[in-house]
């Protein structure tokens, strides 16, 4: 890619418009299935074909389930958090019985796991990890980011949570307890972050927009957007 540094924008590489464009360019992006087929892909295809052939599942049912998972995104979690910020009675019920309150919002979390909401306060900051594998509140946040499944995040978050949080840009004073939740069993956790200052009078929808995925994992803290700083123009005078 060309580096568009405005101070060094001399475009001196030969780029005549009339030269024959027959030299080989690397494709901009490799096809994801261009390489050799891996063992897990073979296994997945074999199991899927068998399930369909034996009448256990239909191709339609598998596609529907994939669609369901793809439809989950942090926007769902953000909706829940924003509701909790504006409705104290809802928040109270959410902290007590997350599954029931999600059902009230028409969010079905399936039968796989119990859900728990852990609340950040001025005294406690929660962060979620799964050291054993990558248990994650998928039904509210969608597919986890790659770093959540990485050995580094999983092993370091339990042993040095403050160090990991600092690397995410979250520096917590010593007076705030850091509480790490290792999702070792049947429960899934989601963090209810603190509502940022400067958001008084915001609507639920506006609030939902500032609730990030990471703030519901506990590796970030939502913030009200600052006034945009005017950018320096790159145009030559």
């Amino acid at each position: 890619m060309h580096d568009h540094d405005p101070h060094d924008h001399d475009h001196n590489h030969d780029h005549d418009d009339d030269h024959d464009h027959d030299h080989a360019h690397a494709p901009p992006q490799k096809d994801h299935d261009a390489g050799p087929v891996g063992a897990y892909e073979v296994l997945e295809e074999a199991v899927r074909s068998l399930l369909i052939e034996k009448g256990v599942l239909t191709a339609q049912e598998i596609a529907n389930q994939v669609d369901l998972m793809d439809s989950r995104s942090p926007a769902l979690g953000a909706k829940v958090v924003a509701r909790a910020w504006v409705d104290p009675a809802f928040k109270k019920r959410l902290l007590k019985d997350t599954r029931a309150e999600l059902a009230e919002l028409d969010i079905d979390i399936g039968t796989l796991a119990e859900f728990r909401t852990v609340e950040n306060t001025p005294k406690v900051h929660n962060v979620i990890v799964c050291t054993l594998c990558s248990c994650y509140p998928k039904m509210l946040l969608g597919v986890p980011p790659a770093w959540y499944k990485a050995l580094a995040y999983r092993s370091r978050t339990v042993a040095d949570p403050r160090g990991v949080l600092a690397e995410f840009g979250v520096e917590l004073p010593k007076g705030v307890e850091v509480r790490v939740h290792d999702s070792t069993a049947d429960l899934r956790y989601i963090v209810l972050p603190m509502r940022p200052k400067g958001t008084q009078g915001w609507s639920e929808k506006e609030l939902a927009k500032i609730v990030t995925r990471d703030s519901m994992i506990g590796t970030a803290v939502p913030a009200a957007p600052k006034k945009p700083v005017p950018r320096k123009s790159n145009k030559a005078a």
Binding site: P161, G163, E177, V178, R179, V180, H181, S183, T184, D186
Partner: protein, 101 residues
């Protein structure tokens, strides 16, 4: 995961417990770094089928009471750098917990 009937657990919130350090072969959801460590029962989650059996397509019975156990970070790691008020919580099945007086 099927949640079975409510169960009177062996431990109550506030009880001090130690995580068993017995060896295990195969699937187990009690992390190594907690084995032999001491914590306090924070909550009873209910009764769940035993994942050490479910992993091998067995019924997972008898179901186990699952507890939220809270550990002081200071008790888990030698030389933990953060303040003494930092904690870690994990969900541990009853058959992995030993009573502490």
């Amino acid at each position: 995961m099927v949640k079975a009937r409510p169960h009177a657990g062996r431990f109550a919130p506030g009880d001090r417990v130690r995580v068993s350090s017995r060896p295990v072969v195969g699937h187990c959801r009690t992390p190594w770094y907690l084995r032999g460590k001491t914590g306090v029962v924070a909550e009873i989650h209910g009764t769940f089928r035993n994942p050490e059996q479910l992993a091998y397509h067995k019924p997972g019975l008898p179901a186990q009471v699952l507890y939220k156990v809270q550990f002081r970070q200071d008790d888990l790691w030698g030389g933990y750098a953060g303040p003494a008020s930092d904690h870690l919580e994990a969900d541990i099945y009853e058959h992995w917990l030993e009573p502490l007086k």
